[in-house]
Symmetry: C2
Subunit: 435 residues, 2 copies
């Protein structure tokens, strides 16, 4: 029988185009028709759906926003304290200065800070500042950077320009045509790509990339990007919205010994409470005094209080160390169990954002995995974003269930009965119209 | 002696370009060098600064975000409840559907809803949708609509295009040059302006405006705008981030009998907790399924829970009725007292957003007003954004103090001793570099 959450999802799709506010949380990405879709309560790695079924989250953990687990007591205490004391006022909250000092201690090469509430707008602020500082509009980019015009404009010339960074074949509908030829993609670990852009375009003022995500960086690649930025006088932006706070408390880039001119943080920084930060060198950030960048809700207090409490706790418990260890343990388990069950499985991503590709990305097999894991009490997909509550015990129990489900998948594959096992449609990949 | 907040402000300016995240909350806009700048606690209309001095807020009340007063018990209870139960998860929160249903009851002409966290990005979503739906990039606009490229691009051709809508002489630094000639201003209550744009530009696909703000609308003007939008097949967007929830529970437009195709809400909708909403007709909103508009923190639970609780309370206590009454009482008081003291004073704005212009906008006189009101326990400027805690008693006591301060101003003016009274620099108007 269809669950209450799935019913509500069908209702939502009629009044919210796309059903929700984030592609990665669409039910069709996990298990069309049968995904619980909505939650009443979440705590640690436990999630209760609309029918009060309890699951353990071994998937995207709020798309990587909650590395301390859901509803962390210490972060919530700090947040509730500022809500009780008023989280909005005509005056400013002092926590924004306190957080700035903390961030500048963590990223010692940076000298000034601005804030926003969401990742997309944080990156757009960084782009505005970079363009204002250089006087050049053109951008070379690598990786995912949000929904804004500057980024999607890459597809105005060729709607495959964002294929390897965002999604295949995205039409940049509603993005001004005049932005064509302002934004050029280069591939990760491929310095020739970037060199080619620089050779063909005079006016590249900004180079923006995720320093790490699905693959380990070739450190010489990162160093060459830095060198090119210096040579052409471009602002180098590292978007660490996803990679930040997982390999160390701060940006991952410093592990590789390469500093940007601007860094952007978000997601995990407030353990699920909305906050974004843009840090950079003073000579560049200063231009924010001369271009209008201003918004009411960027002044709200909760984001700053949450970030201070989250960063303090990450430091106190050495959270990145745990995230890496948990991710390695999960990845190792997947590899061993898939080998035992004769399933083809590849893994990718830094350990705290570990991913598998099952049977050469077979949608039916992945759907069956998600379905069977859900039946056994897990929110699961081919991604695990690790958190502090992914303990050895939680992971070992999860891997026992994966063992069971991989056995079922092997059986279904060998007997060619996958379709008979599937109760509903297969998962969607990428972006498609929902009905 | 300089207060602790003013000291912190000086520190902030060194590590945060512009000192904070919102022009309207900069200390130099109120009382340079002596404004308390930061708060520890805010409740109702009471604010406590870093030195625990207590003030009554008779100014912008969190730039209009808190029409139920600061830290409203009912809203905070709803917010803390969802924080305890987890405000971020891999699953979606059901409150976003509940809020959508509520909003669509309030704005009956609308059929679909999307959300964001800040006003600027909410309007940018509306613009993206309108451009995608019409296939036309050009925009005619009136009023203030945030910091984004689409809007600031109006000044690429002539840096006075935004003078009457945002600020005088703003340089659109960092906004791509290729956006020149995509965004055209028209003046409020001036249909000829809009007609001229339509006559000169073939490709206007979007008309965006604040239906009311500083002046009452000429209703025939609003109706003509609607008619023009229909005739040219443009999407009409009403930005009610500022005007919404003050004249009725919902958008002000329906008082004038004119519906848009898309409406944007923000600010007061969550009583200070960040939330924005974009509502529109299904045939237009549906295109959001085909252009990528997606962000992690738009899924966070607090904004939805806050908005549901805020709207319920606004309805239960008929908050707009109170906001209007309080605004009229304050405006009347200003007029009477200024007349008694032989001061020139004009008022403007809808009652819940009442404003005075003192002595033909004399900066020194306004600075002295702010300074003397602060000495007497008030956060005050020439704007009052009314809230439910601006009771008759609070307003009468405020007006007694205004009487006192207007007397002082008269004296200073008549004896030409304004400069002697002023302890610090005069207020800034508009946007200028801070040192």
């Amino acid at each position: 029988m269809i669950n209450s959450g799935a019913k509500l999802w069908n209702k939502a799709k009629k009044i919210i185009p796309g059903g929700n506010q984030l592609l990665s949380k669409r039910s069709d990405q996990f298990l069309p028709d049968y995904w619980p879709s909505y939650y009443r309560k979440a705590k640690g790695v436990h999630v209760w759906d609309m029918d009060n079924n309890n699951y353990i989250d071994m998937s995207i953990m709020g798309i990587g926003a909650c590395t301390l687990g859901y509803a962390d007591d210490d972060v919530n205490k700090a947040v509730e304290n500022v809500i009780e004391k008023g989280s909005m006022c005509t005056l400013n909250c002092y926590e924004e200065v306190e957080l700035a000092e903390k961030l500048l201690e963590i990223e010692k090469w940076a000298e000034m800070v601005r804030y926003a509430r969401t990742g997309g707008e944080s990156v757009s602020i960084a782009i505005r500042i970079a363009r204002a500082a250089t006087g050049k509009d053109k951008i070379a980019f690598c990786g995912y950077h949000g929904w804004h015009d500057w980024y999607l404009s890459a597809n105005l010339k060729n709607n495959e320009n964002l294929t390897d960074h965002l999604l295949p074949g995205l039409n940049p509908l509603g993005v001004p045509q005049s932005l064509e030829n302002t934004c050029f993609p280069f591939n990760y670990n491929n310095i020739n790509d970037l060199e080619e852009i620089i050779a063909n375009e005079d006016e590249i003022g900004t180079i923006i990339m995720e320093p790490v995500r699905n693959f380990d960086p070739d450190i010489s690649f990162l160093k060459k990007v830095r060198k090119i930025a210096n040579e052409i006088g471009a602002v180098l932006i590292f978007d660490e919205i996803t990679s930040g706070w997982r390999l160390r408390v701060g940006g991952a880039h410093s592990i590789y010994g390469v500093d940007p001119d601007i860094i952007v943080f978000g997601k995990a920084m407030g353990n699920g409470h909305p906050i974004g930060a843009i840090l950079g060198k003073e000579e560049i950030m200063e231009i924010a005094q001369e271009t209008f960048i201003s918004s009411t809700f960027w002044t709200e207090r909760v984001g700053f209080a949450a970030a201070i409490a989250t960063i303090n706790k990450m430091e106190n418990i050495n959270n990145p160390k745990h995230l890496i260890k948990a991710g390695k343990m999960i990845t190792k388990g997947w590899k061993e169990l898939s080998a035992e069950h004769n399933l083809s499985l590849e893994t990718m991503g830094i350990p705290p954002l570990t991913t598998f590709v099952l049977e050469n990305n077979d949608s039916q097999m992945q759907t069956l995995f998600n379905q069977e894991m859900l039946d056994r009490g897990y929110l699961a997909s081919n991604h695990v974003y690790t958190c502090s509550h992914h303990t050895d015990k939680v992971i070992n129990e999860y891997l026992e269930v994966v063992d069971d489900v991989f056995g079922l998948l092997r059986n279904a594959k060998e007997n060619n009965t996958i379709k008979e096992y599937l109760r509903g449609p297969t998962i969607s990949k990428g972006f498609k119209r929902l009905n």
